[in-house]
Each structure stands twice: as C-alpha cells, then as structure tokens.
C-alpha cells in the first residue's frame, strides 16, 4: 500500500511511504521473524499474553498494549435450543455470580483485561459508570440454582474458539465450583461458526445442543446498539437471546433520535436491563497486545482496526537507516 501524497487532509497525512500486508505468513512465523531480525516484519497483531513475555526478551521487538479497546469477551446463553433452561433468568444470573472476574483476568490473560459491568467496556459510547459488575458470590449462585430447580446440579456444554481456550478452561472450572458439570469443547473458527453464526448453522438453532458459547465482539463504530446489541440480541447474526421486547423498545428509541445525550441515556438503560436480566455471561474487556519493531512508533486504535495513520518510524528503522539492516 503506497502513501497518497496528494491526500487533501494534511492533519491525517500518511507518515510512512509504503506498508506491506503479508497474509502468507502464519502468526507464529511472523512473530519469530520480528523477534529475531529486522527488514521482514515490523508489526504482529493479536498477541497472546504469554507471547508478550518472549517479545520482551527480543533485541529487535517490543510489546505494545492497547488499553481501552472497544472489545468485550462474553458468553452467549443458548435460548434458542429446544427446552432451553436459559430462558430462566435465575440460571443466567447464577452463572454470572459464579465467575470471579479478577481471577479470570489474572490467570487467563495475565492481567491483560478489565472487568465490564454489562456488555460494554469503559470507553464505549453508552458505558454506565454507575453500573457494577456481577460480584463473585458462589453461595448466592448455588441458592439461585436451587431455586431454579437445579439443586442436584446441571450438566452443560460450553463451546469456545481456539483463541479463547484458556479463558474457557478457567470459566468452566469456576462454574464447576457451584455445582455445574461442564463439558468444554474447543473448536476451530469454522466449526465454531457452524454452531453459532445463525445463517451458516450446520443444524437449526433449536437442534444446537451447546449451552454457553464464549466469544468476543469489537465495535468499529463506537455505537454499540449495532455491533453489540443488534448483532447479538436483536435479530442479528448471533442473536441467541431471541426476541426481547424491552431491549427492542430502547433500541428503536436510540435510533429515533440524533440527540447524543439522549442516546447515551438510552444505551445506559439497555446496559442496565441487560445486566439485570443477565442476557449474557459478562466476562471482561481485553487489553489488545501487539509486537512491534523497536524503531516503529505504533499508534493503535481503540476500535482495534489496523489504521496506521499516526504510525511512523524513527531514524533507526531499517528502511531509512544509512547503514542498512543489522545482520
């Protein structure tokens, strides 16, 4: 991709001359090239927390953290399967109360996460600072399970994509502590989508046997009524909540006004309602991790989109340095 040197907006003028996106390398190979030399790979996205420790030991690369991303890691409850137990709010609330989010973030992400009170992270439009996350209250979770008719426990199937395997493992252990029996299935992206992406299901929704599906959602628009609420709860491609009149009412009100303060108030109502009804298993807001050549000044975006407008290189970068590439 070549810089457009005739771009009209000089406040967003490109700072590098050429960027090459190489999709032929695996992430593992790209990271190795970045860590062990220069001239081939300058930036690798979607790092796992474990990999950042190895990057820190490299003479060529450094880790960059993107705090405040508009990403949420959460779980769908399968309300659409035949005789779904998840239509009972007590069960959904019990599962939320069984999660120790601080421990989840500590052990599954090595601290690279922030708790969320409901669906939206702190930088999202409509985030409610007065809304508290579900507390870790296993006794109350067991009480709710008994009240919902599961005094002897309940056998559940949880599915997760490969990139959330550690998180899913930790969550499953926490749920077992309140008397739920978990079968965890880690699936590749295609298999996961065939069980969750409503237009590409291998079997109809009512025949999907999973109970909880861990996933993540970002927001390139910072307008969460679309990519969060519409897509996951109001008729969108991953709507496993199924029809929910109060959310629908609030959603229509948000779209019916251009008053940003009014929209924010309404989205906060959506958040509060969603939290109270526990429509999802709320987990955390991940801190996005990147590995970057030390001579690249990388500026990430909260949307996590790879927009490189403000990204530049120093005079020590291999592409501009007089003495060429280090062996």
């Amino acid at each position: 991709m070549e810089a457009n040197t005739e771009y009209w907006d000089h406040s967003r003028f490109p700072r590098v001359k050429r960027i090459v996106f190489d999709n032929t390398l695996s992430q593992k190979d790209a990271l190795e090239l970045l860590k062990t030399g220069e001239g081939r790979v300058d930036l690798v996205t979607e790092l796992s927390p474990l990999e950042t420790l190895r990057v820190a030991e490299s003479p060529f690369a450094t880790g960059v953290k993107n705090r405040g991303s508009l990403m949420t890691v959460f779980g769908h409850f399968n309300n659409r399967k035949a005789r779904s137990p998840w239509r009972d709010a007590r069960l959904r609330q019990a599962v939320n109360l069984a999660i120790n989010r601080q421990d989840l973030i500590r052990y599954a992400t090595r601290g690279n996460g922030v708790t969320v009170p409901a669906f939206l992270p702190v930088q999202s439009f409509g985030y409610d600072p007065d809304l508290a996350p579900y507390p870790f209250e296993p006794d109350k979770a067991r009480h709710l399970l008994r009240g919902a008719g599961y005094a002897d426990g309940l056998s559940l199937t949880m599915i997760a994509p490969e990139d959330l395997e550690v998180q899913a493992t930790v969550v499953s252990k926490m749920l077992e502590q309140v008397g739920l029996n978990l079968e965890l299935q880690i699936l590749d992206t295609t298999a996961f989508n065939r069980k969750t992406f409503l237009s590409s299901l291998e079997q109809p929704p009512e025949e999907q046997t999973w109970d909880i599906a861990l996933t993540s959602q970002g927001d390139v628009q910072n307008f969460p009524v679309y990519l969060h609420y519409h897509d996951h709860a109001l008729g969108g491609p991953w709507d496993w909540v199924s029809e929910e009149p109060e959310l629908r009412r609030l959603y229509e009100l948000v779209l019916g006004t251009v008053d940003r303060e009014r929209q924010q108030t309404l989205i906060r109502q959506m958040e509060r309602h969603t939290r109270d009804q526990a429509y999802f298993l709320f987990l955390y807001n991940p801190i996005q991790l990147y590995a970057v050549n030390k001579a690249v000044t990388f500026v990430p975006y909260v949307t996590t989109r790879l927009i490189l407008t403000e990204t530049s290189v120093t005079d020590q970068h291999w592409s501009v340095r007089q003495d060429g590439i280090k062996p």
């Binding site: 590409s200 628009q221 948000v254």
Partner: protein, 53 residues
Amino acid sequence: MNFKPGSRLEIVTPQIVRFIFPEPDGGALAKVVAMHLGNRQFYRELGWGEKSW
C-alpha cells in the same frame, strides 16, 4: 444497517457530501463508518456469509 428508502446524497464540493434523510436517523454516522465499498463482482459472485468465504 442500510439507509431508509427516500434517503438522498448531494455532492456539495469534491470534499463535501450532504446526506438527506426522510426522517431522523440516530444511527446514520455509524452506518457511514461501516459502509462497504466493495467491487460489484464481489456482490455479484460472492456476497456475504461464511459459505462464500
């Protein structure tokens, strides 16, 4: 996330366009952010959905 029927676009200058909607659309700016400008061949031969990937 399409604009409602009756929406119009006026080209004011080479750098400025004006959207005109039949009624208030609180999601208009978000729709513009997510607007797809795909090659017609994409829509004709592939389209969205995992089966087409």
